[in-house]
């Protein structure tokens, strides 16, 4: 245990000895009189205070801006809410207009027919495949007067080209109408307001 310690001391003994100190070079000595206090530099003070004021001002400015924008944000949120309501109202108001039964009823009101036999023209020999009944054929389904596929969203909505007509509401009513019309197709409709006459000018 003592061997390493001994060797350390041996090493110390090998160091060259320091030169003797001169008395005149001593660093610590007694002062004749206390040193006069140096006046603090005004500039630094000004910078520090100005800096603090500046920081405070900037912070206040930022705070004002944030508050300001939070009001703007609030106004915009309000505006967005109003627009969301408007969008919802408009979406609700057009819902169902694109439904197939409404489109088909409109098409039927315009005199369009559907469900025709497919007819093909074979180019190689000009042969017409299928019956060329085409535009004279009756519609396979009656999308307007016997509309059977209900849609609560467009029930009562007038058709585009025929404001007096609309799809009736509810499947039950339509089905009954169909059953009634199927049962007595040969019976002419009752005359309510005299014989129908064409409107002329």
């Amino acid at each position: 245990m003592s061997t390493p310690a001994m060797s350390a001391i041996d090493l110390l003994e090998d160091l060259p000895s320091l030169p003797p100190r001169d008395g005149a070079d001593r660093r610590l000595r007694a002062l004749d009189r206390p040193a006069s206090r140096r006046r603090p530099r005004l500039l630094y003070g000004i910078i520090a205070v100005a800096g603090a004021v500046l920081i405070g001002a900037v912070q206040m400015g930022l705070s004002i801006l944030t508050t300001q924008s939070s009001y703007e944000l609030s106004a915009l949120t309000q505006q967005q809410r109003t627009l969301d309501y408007q969008k919802q109202v408009l979406t609700d108001s057009i819902a169902g207009l694109s439904s197939p039964q409404y489109l088909a009823a409109n098409a039927a009101a315009l005199g369009m027919v559907t469900g025709q036999q497919p007819t093909f023209l074979r180019l190689s020999d000009n042969a017409v495949i299928g019956t060329a009944a085409g535009n004279n054929g009756a519609s396979a389904v009656n999308a307007l007067t016997q509309a059977a596929v209900a849609n609560g969203l467009v029930a009562g909505t007038p058709l585009v080209n025929d404001p007096t007509a609309s799809l009736t509401a509810g499947a039950t009513v339509a089905d009954e109408a169909i059953a009634a019309s199927a049962a007595e197709t040969s019976t002419p409709p009752a005359i309510a307001d005299g014989l129908p006459t064409p409107t002329t000018h």
Partner: protein, 604 residues
């Protein structure tokens, strides 16, 4: 070496440091406890005590769309209008044109009386003013200091805004997520509907709720005195919207077929009717039309029985539409060909005592297997079918799907299948199973049988849901059972050719002929059990099922009537089948066959 002098202050320092560290670690533990362990509790408490507010954010329930993306169901918002009766009857100060309160001679505000306010409310909600006043009067009669009564539930956003614009301080509005169905009853039987509280009740709405349901979120914030959110206090947990369910249904085709089946069902005065269209090469159901169909916008308008899908909940004895299965079995197991023939009287007593009749009288003839199908002869099919052991026949029926349910997983799907196994079949059942009696199937299974025959003998699972697209864009496709090779491609092709001959040579040939196309069809007039062990007299479930174009089948169409009255046989289905098939072919722009059906001999 340390001396006593140096050791003492160092120890003190160490002890002091230890104490400081101990206190510090206590603080750390406490901080951890406050910030992490019990954080939620403290945040909640702070919101409760401070000026904070918490709002629930509702995610939108997902849409249900058809195969082309047409929206069949989407979300909207409805409002409950509530009133404070005590406050309402007091009236409100009248506001002049200048925006200031009008005052009388005594400098008191002039009040607008309650009946006048009730008029204004009623004008918006569509109720009568008397109704509105009655609601308030009733609430006050019950409790003189009542502060709560409901004027109207589930009003639209438009009405809600109109009411809000009246600026009546005693009205409150409760927001409800609700559903709207732009196409109404188009596929209403499949789409289903939700209850008034938004809970799914029927159809896909209920079946796919896991995909459609949204997750609620919340926003917490602190408000200043003027109601403005204090910057930096807002904390949002976003709501997650529900996923979009895409169906295999084609809404336009679906509408046409619904309109069609409705007209035809009324014409033949059937109890109800239905049409199913399936894509041969995918098993996807493109339309599933039936009468009557619920309008999900107003399910209350339909009778309880009409609110679901009958087609997916009914099972019946298929009758003659299963004769092709017998033909396929006999071809594979008894080595028959479409021209194999058998002597067929219109009534026949078999060795085991069973008696089988044909539906129409005819002279005894030597019918081929093709002829058995063309003339839909029970006697011929019984003879051909009994060449194969009943166990094998049952195996084949099972491979074609009988008793195996379907892949749709529909709620309330019927239990269909054999009432007894082959070894227990009685003498009559031994033969009737060759023409679709003594076991029940669902309409979807009948369609699948024809899909199998049209698809080279490979049965694909019937499919109604294409995919679920989650809010983050992930697409989840449902896992379907594997396709099954039911019969050999050669057998399928032979059966298909025979079915073509039913179309070309059967009694219905001229009625369902679609020029330019080759079709394979089969009729079915199935007896309906009367519930007393017998069959109803003169009432049938009639069906006509077929595929086109036969040389490269694309679509299977099944039409079905339950107990038609003006024409009680399967011929009732001719016009509806022709119109339905024609619409399918034109809708999907299926090219004409451009070739004639190869005719096979009916008799020999």
């Amino acid at each position: 070496m340390t001396t006593r002098v140096t050791r003492s202050p160092r120890r003190r320092t160490v002890v002091a440091l230890g104490v400081v560290l101990l206190v510090l670690s206590l603080f750390v533990v406490r901080l951890f406890d406050i910030q992490v362990v019990n954080a939620a509790e403290h945040v909640a408490e702070s919101q409760k005590l401070a000026t904070g507010a918490k709002q629930t954010l509702y995610g939108a329930r997902g849409e249900i769309v058809d195969t082309n993306g047409t929206v069949l169901a989407s979300s909207t918002t409805r409002y409950d209008v509530q009133i404070d009766p005590t406050l309402a009857v007091k009236g409100i100060p009248k506001v002049g044109d200048d925006g200031k309160t009008v005052k009388d001679a005594d400098d008191k505000p002039v009040l607008v009386p309650w009946p006048e306010l009730a008029d204004r409310i009623a004008a918006v909600t569509g109720q009568s003013s008397a109704d509105v006043q009655k609601i308030v009067a009733d609430a006050l009669a019950k409790d003189a200091s009542s502060q709560y009564a409901t004027i109207k539930r589930y009003v639209s956003t438009e009405e809600y805004r109109a009411l809000a614009d009246l600026k009546l301080p005693f009205l409150y509005y409760d927001k409800h997520p609700a559903r709207t169905y732009p196409d109404g009853a188009v596929a209403g039987n499949i789409v289903g509907f939700t209850g008034s509280g938004g809970e799914p009740l029927e159809g896909i709405e209920s079946l796919q709720d896991q995909c459609l349901a949204s997750e609620e979120g919340s926003v917490t914030y602190q408000k200043g005195a003027d109601g403005v959110i204090i910057p930096g206090t807002e904390k949002t947990t976003a709501a997650v919207d529900g996923g979009t369910v895409k169906l295999t249904i084609d809404a336009d085709l679906q509408w046409y077929l619904q309109q069609l089946i409705s007209e035809e069902t009324a014409h033949y005065q059937a109890d109800w009717g239905g049409i199913i269209v399936m894509e041969v090469k995918t098993g996807k159901i493109r339309a599933i039309a039936e009468t009557k169909t619920v309008d999900p916008n107003d399910p209350g308008a339909s009778a309880t029985d009409d609110r679901g899908s009958r087609l997916l909940r009914v099972s019946y004895e298929p009758g003659s539409t299963f004769k092709p299965v017998t033909a396929a079995t006999a071809i594979e197991q008894a080595g028959l060909t479409p021209t194999s023939s058998v002597l067929t009287p219109d009534r026949m007593q078999f060795p085991n005592g069973a008696v089988i009749n044909d539906s129409e009288n005819h002279p005894t003839e030597n019918l081929t297997l093709t002829g058995g199908l063309v003339q839909s002869s029970n006697v011929a099919m019984s003879q051909f079918g009994s060449l194969v052991s009943p166990e094998v026949r049952q195996q084949y029926l099972e491979k074609f799907g009988v008793g195996g349910g379907d892949a749709l997983g529909w709620s309330g799907a019927p239990k269909a299948g054999f009432s007894s196994d082959a070894k227990n079949w009685d003498n009559q059942t031994y033969y009737t199973t060759t023409f679709g009696q003594a076991f029940t199937v669902t309409p979807t299974q009948v369609v699948s049988v024809f899909q199998t025959i049209a698809n080279g003998g490979v049965r694909l699972p019937a499919q109604l849901v294409e995919s679920c697209t989650k809010a983050d864009g992930t697409v989840v496709t449902p896992t379907e059972p594997d396709p099954v090779q039911v019969i050999q491609p050669q057998t399928a092709s032979e059966v298909s050719q025979m079915l073509e001959n039913v179309y070309a040579q059967g009694t219905l040939a001229s009625d369902i002929n679609i020029p330019g196309y080759r079709l394979g069809v089969k009729t079915g007039t199935a007896q309906v059990p009367d519930g007393k062990g017998g069959y109803k007299d003169g009432l049938y479930v009639t069906s006509l099922v077929g595929f086109a174009p036969a040389e490269d089948p694309q679509y299977v169409v099944l039409t079905l009537f339950d107990e038609p009255k003006t024409n009680r046989m399967s011929s009732a289905n001719r016009s509806v089948f022709k119109k339905a098939m024609m619409q399918v072919l034109t809708h999907y722009r299926v090219m004409p066959s451009n070739q004639a059906t190869p005719l096979l001999p009916v008799t020999q």
